[in-house]
């Protein structure tokens, strides 16, 4: 099932999730996954705010930025957000037809 991030801020519970619509919206806002590491100032806020779209569409951008500033373990959080962003695309890939097995060494 879909990966989500849950936390509480100022007494309110939040659930961050990337649906296919959220991915489309964040792409329309200018997010590019291949620029995440080289243009963090622009891409990181987009990636974080896009995860609010599914369940917290009306949260103001100012509040989202405040929440970002307060989040702990930002590196792990970015990794998790990246996985959540990729999940809607990966779910459309049908790799049941392949016959080549592989392993990580």
């Amino acid at each position: 099932m879909a990966k989500t991030i849950r936390f509480s801020y100022n007494g309110k519970d939040y659930t961050l999730e990337y649906t296919r619509r959220a991915v489309r919206v964040v792409n329309e806002r200018g997010f590019r996954p291949d620029e995440l590491r080289n243009n963090t100032i622009v891409m990181v806020p987009l990636l974080f705010s896009g995860a609010f779209f599914a369940h917290h569409r009306n949260v103001p951008e100012k509040e989202i930025n405040e929440i970002w500033e307060q989040m702990q373990n930002k590196e792990d959080l970015l990794t998790a957000l990246g996985e959540m962003y990729s999940q809607p695309t990966e779910a459309l890939m049908d790799d049941s037809q392949g016959n080549v097995s592989w392993s990580v060494q």
């Binding site: 990337y18 619509r21 489309r24 590019r32 459309l92």
Partner: protein, 138 residues
């Protein structure tokens, strides 16, 4: 184009391209765009299961057609034999589960047993009647 000059294809392009396929296999646009993002995985598996089931149903239907034609074979010739009659068609459908097959086997065994008992009773009744007749004559 990305900063390094590569081509960037937004994921949303892939989503739009795949939407008709998932609608064709029963997914609503709402589920596709706003539902759990892993739903397509389960829709694909359900679609494969439905195809297997339909294939099985079509195969069974072919068997029924074959059986029907086989039963009619004696009269489906240019010059059938005198008094030719079609064979009997299947008395009941093919069992589709092991439970149905076991129940059918048990029912047939019970039927054979009942037939045997009936025949034995008839034989015994006839033997008794003959013995009684012999005693009366004697």
């Amino acid at each position: 184009m990305s900063e390094d000059g590569g081509d960037f294809a937004p994921a949303s392009d892939i989503f739009t391209e795949q939407l008709p396929y998932y609608m064709a296999i029963g997914m609503t646009p709402e589920d596709y765009w706003d539902g759990d993002c892993d739903l397509p995985i389960y829709y694909r598996k359900a679609h494969a299961l439905r195809n297997q089931q339909r294939n099985q149903e079509l195969w069974i239907q072919g068997r029924y057609f074959y059986d029907a034609l086989k039963a009619l074979a004696p009269i489906l010739v240019a010059f059938p034999k005198k008094n030719a009659k079609p064979d009997k068609y299947l008395e009941e459908p093919y069992p589709l589960t092991q439970e149905e097959a076991a129940e059918r086997k048990a029912r047939r065994e019970a039927g054979k047993k009942a037939d045997f008992i009936t025949k034995m009773n008839a034989w015994a009744a006839k033997a008794n009647a003959l013995k009684k007749e012999a005693d009366t004559d004697g």
